[in-house]
Symmetry: C2
Subunit: 408 residues, 2 copies
Amino acid sequence: MAIIVHKYGGTSVGTAEKIKNVACRVKKTRDQGDEVLVIVSAMGHTTDELIELMNKVSENPDPREYDMLVSTGEQVSAALLAMALQSIGCPAVSLTGGQAGVITEDIYKKARIKEIKLDRIKKELKAGKVAVITGFQGVDSKGDIITIGRGGSDTSAVAIAAALNAKVCEIYTDVDGVYTTDPRIVPEAKKLKSISYEEMLELASLGAQVLHPRSIECASIYGMVIHLRSSLNESEGTYIKEATKMEKKEAVRGIALDENIAKIGILKVPDKPGTASKIFGALADEKINVDMIIQSIHSQGTQADMAFTVDTPDLKKAVEIAKRVAKELGAAEVISDPDVAKVSLVGIGMVSQPGTASKMFKALSESKINIQMISTSEIKISCVVKFEEGKKAVQVLHKAFGLDKISQ
Amino acid sequence: MAIIVHKYGGTSVGTAEKIKNVACRVKKTRDQGDEVLVIVSAMGHTTDELIELMNKVSENPDPREYDMLVSTGEQVSAALLAMALQSIGCPAVSLTGGQAGVITEDIYKKARIKEIKLDRIKKELKAGKVAVITGFQGVDSKGDIITIGRGGSDTSAVAIAAALNAKVCEIYTDVDGVYTTDPRIVPEAKKLKSISYEEMLELASLGAQVLHPRSIECASIYGMVIHLRSSLNESEGTYIKEATKMEKKEAVRGIALDENIAKIGILKVPDKPGTASKIFGALADEKINVDMIIQSIHSQGTQADMAFTVDTPDLKKAVEIAKRVAKELGAAEVISDPDVAKVSLVGIGMVSQPGTASKMFKALSESKINIQMISTSEIKISCVVKFEEGKKAVQVLHKAFGLDKISQ
């Protein structure tokens, strides 16, 4: 008898009808003889509605009270799912994060899980019950309710699955797996049977928002197999797990497009030690996430141009900071461009196949797509191109690397 | 520095705007130098909405899951009120029943409070914060969330106030106090400045639904003064406390009308020992609350007629049971009448003024109102009359006992 963890997101438990469907699916798994735990998110737009109410009573809500407020959403879905399970003859019990023994750091709104005390969960499983646990939350050392930040329910599911040594953590969502690229851009995109943690992490960080990066990190640390699949059908989705030998042979496994970035350049920065730390320190202080950074020596040799990308919503603030720091440093000018997109190739085999980058650049240049910035990591190559050329770049590369022909 | 407990019901915290008003009122009390605790109910129709959802997923929901579900309503209002307080510069913290140390019996849906562990509440008060506590709930020995039944938030407020030795427990509602009778029936009805626990208990049991009987019982045990007042204005309401000498002189303090009753008669029951226990035992088994019971010896001497009242919603089921038991006992017939109402005089001074009952009967007979059943207790006299004559009976009695002339 193995332990299987299911996780259902807000859309999958959005209505009473959907909750009943989830109950049937859970019961089916349990009827196959396994012990089942279910992690649930808040129903549909519950969290947004609570936040709307919150904004009406307070302009700057206390993070502690925020957690107290929004954590109710998961509690409602957990109780309803437990009831739905019982009503089809499947013994079940709902547990809050605290009751399930999920202990977090003492940080409101974005704590990490420190420990999972399994006594209660084990007791309920032993009593033959399906444990339905509120995702996204735990309690701190004071017993206060703590939420664990965006994508928290995925992380809850993986952490609980890992603590229990579950066979698999099945994450149900409204897509049916991970594709070689966004099928809306490339209709020939193929669903991957499996993908490694590292590759999934890169794809998730690049905006493939099916799984939160933290949950993948957590799964990777504990070697927990995630099965990402659709709550709308029975078909197999994509397994996220240790890379197989086969996968390591493939240079490129997936292509991601991030259209939500903007480019900033600081020109003619006097080339002195500490310059970069001044610029990026100031941005970090304001919690602005900087992605690609390129420093190019200027023709004169004593000056450098710095270019970097930020998320589009941060652009205005980032430019403001860049102008202030540029003045302090005696740089010539700050330029910015919101009309860019980032195309990335991801593949764990890239590390052993050095020709990938040049093949990428060649394919783009043959399609007359100009590359504005390049950054590479062991398993990723990203290029910044004009916004209008982003989708075309993905299509060109998907074909060039034969991703439409693979049968994985 | 005294401790003052405020309690706000669902209507008083029904919208973001109303929550902000409550925050202002709480802050005002605190600015006067007292320590303040606030007990809140769920916003407006939240509980009903949750129950509606529940009924869609389960026909016979588990009481444990019911508690898990509905307790979220109070948690939402507590968090929002804490935020609203903070946003007007009043330090505050919300606490669930469990966090506030409210320990209940291990019975879902209708537990009694066993104990209040004050550590956390005291710590928060010491830190200068207003503690906003979810009403209606606590935790049991397993840490499961338990609700404490209908009217639970009033009881939570009184119990917490008593445990903290608060100066007063102010219960805010949409009426501005306790009246000599329902002002919709008698426009001359007067607001009482104060009323004793016993009288309030009788009035509450008689359908004056401003305060739940359990909360009054609890206040009476601990001698906690309740100030029942309106959340819509600043005027003084009614104090519920030990009877004063003055009050003991008044025979009649209030008149209640309960239109939600029905009468059942079992005719010609063979007069044998155990008959009554058979009838009322069977009704109790089905959780049907029986109020007035009258057994009259039938003309023949070996048979008796039994009459009793039940709440109207229970009538159908009660008749069914009565018919079954009547058959077993060999009784002649079961009759029922939903068109009745109960008029009651309540007053702690009644015990020392024996003329009250006859004065009541006389006033009713002079107005040609026929009395169908009578029952008396030390501080109450109730008469069942025709439904159509209920309101008139109240008006007649209000005048006969001079309640429109008192100035309390």
